[in-house]
């Protein structure tokens, strides 16, 4: 509550001083446990702001909305640490100018929500390094453990089962702040790389490609997983890939706005044990 009140005041100050043209935050949703994105442009709108532990959605995807940042004015946004990592990646991939973003950071443990110190992306580099070194989530997801114990065939069958529910609504893509391509690979048809139909093969291909395109870029905000209307555990694939790039290349996505994208860079001594 205190954090929320403090931030309401901050938002009003930011808007009043003209240092931001808009703040992207949260407001109550259609049921008590839901929160929905809020675009604050006036002091009255700021009064709708809600900040608590149920504010889960990573809002950073809205920053790359066409035209939002093109007037070079600044925009404030409420972000959890994963959200801050997202905008670092967007900046590193030249999708936005990090100078235009005013970060209103927060994090939560249990039901407690607390503000994070800082306003600019750079202010959080210490925090992010800490998270890299000491991941908060120490316990591994039981389902992930189960999958890792399976053999190839069992894993294939497991994912077939999961992907068979996919309806190709692309909620995972649209919800993901990293999926900003104007024309997604699945929408390109010359050539048609992957089947657009939502049969098991098409679903499998889509999900593989989506996961690959997010390898080394996903910050595990969970947007895709929450967005999926057919409850495919997308987070598991993303988690696995994040572990892979961390172990393989010591790459923690979104550490800084100038971090080199892991798959667009290399080291001469990268591991190659798998190459014949």
């Amino acid at each position: 509550m205190i954090t929320q009140e403090k931030y309401r005041t901050t938002v009003k100050e930011l808007l009043a001083s003209g240092s931001v043209k808009m703040v992207i935050g949260y407001k109550p949703g259609s049921t008590p446990d839901r929160r929905r994105p809020l675009f604050i442009r006036t002091s009255e709108e700021a009064d709708q702001l809600v900040l608590d532990s149920t504010c889960m959605t990573n809002l950073s995807g809205y920053l790359v909305t066409e035209g939002l940042l093109s007037d070079e004015k600044r925009v404030g946004i409420f972000l959890r640490p994963e959200g801050i990592r997202s905008i670092n990646i967007l900046a590193a991939e030249y999708q936005l100018n990090i100078e235009q973003i005013v970060i209103l950071g927060f994090d939560s443990t249990g039901r407690d929500v607390r503000p994070l110190e800082g306003r600019n992306a750079g202010d959080f580099s210490g925090l992010l390094s800490e998270i890299k070194e000491k991941p908060v989530q120490t316990s591994k997801e039981p389902l992930l453990e189960r999958i890792e114990k399976m053999n190839a065939q069992e894993r294939f069958d497991f994912w077939q089962e999961e992907f068979s529910r996919c309806i190709k609504c692309y909620a995972c893509r649209q919800a993901c702040p990293m999926c900003y391509c104007r024309r997604c690979i699945v929408d390109s048809n010359q050539p048609q790389w992957i089947n657009t139909s939502s049969h098991t093969l098409g679903n499998f291909e889509w999900n593989i490609v989506r996961a690959f395109h997010l390898s080394g870029r996903c910050v595990q905000c969970g947007n895709c997983d929450r967005a999926c209307p057919v409850n495919i555990p997308l987070r598991l694939i993303n988690q696995r890939m994040a572990t892979e790039v961390l172990d393989g290349f010591d790459h923690f996505a979104g550490l800084s706005p100038t971090q080199e994208p892991v798959l667009a860079s290399f080291k001469k001594d990268d591991t190659e044990t798998f190459i014949l």
């Binding site: 259609s30 929450r226 409850n231």
Partner: protein, 335 residues
Amino acid sequence: MTRILFSDKLDNCIAKWRSAGLTVIGPVQGESLSGYAAVEKAAGFEFGMVLPERPLKELFFPQTEPMLRYTIKKNEIDTTDFTAPQGKRIIFGARACDASGLAIDDPLFGWDYKDEYWFQRRNESVIVTIACTKADDFCMCTSLKLAPDSTKGSDVLLRPIDKNRGWLIEELTDRGREAFAIISDYLQESSEPAVPTVVVPEKFNLDACVTWLQNPENFDSKFWKEISMRCIGCASCTYLCPTCHCFDIQDEGDTYSGIRRKNWDSCSFALFTMHTSGHNPRSTQSARWRQRIMHKFNYFPGKFSVNSCSGCGRCSRQCPVDMGITETLQEISKL
């Protein structure tokens, strides 16, 4: 006196229907998703949920469906039709909103050109709807002038009796009567009253909304931009909608052989209306959301005299950013 189907007789009924050649389909709770699926035993059903997460529509208009197979030889093209799978089905325990959805789409699939994929399945399916005794915050059939016990699109309406012991039977069509004649041995006469259906509060004034939508001035209202600002442009609302019927036609294969498929498509996608020239009639998300609302409550009723919404509330329930028809119409009511 009404006839009753007691739950403990359901297994016999299923067996009877199955031996009569009907596939028995109903609400099923999967490991991580609920939907309508075929069962062999009554235990496979899950009647407790408000409504299945996946819509009934997909049993009539699947997410992907082959239409034609082609084989190309030199100066010769062979095509074979895929028809919708034959076989009679009984859908036991549909929700009134899902059943209405089918009736809403009938005129669309049938005007001038008949879509046989839809009608083949429609003709072979008996819809047995169970009136709702439970609703959640998103249910809104009453706002659409329908009801938890609406008979639209159903062949038989069942009303639950106390303690889930069975259902009162209300046969609505010949097809329904035929299907229940098969199991007449297991039905009993009774005067037991039905459990009252759930009261779903009205969420918005539909007439006021429609009047607002029909006013051409409001087409360019700032409202559309405001309401759809947080829309991320995915298709979960349209794909889970029991009445959304847009589709795409895609070829899979190569120059020699392959198939042509009919796939779900959505007005939420930017590419849906994009011209070859690059011109896009609905180039913004607000234009696309406006189209969806206008189509459901203004254009579609103008053509087919029925709203293209049955009030299931799935759009709002599943929306990743908590949008949906309910909120939009509620906001319009306030204007």
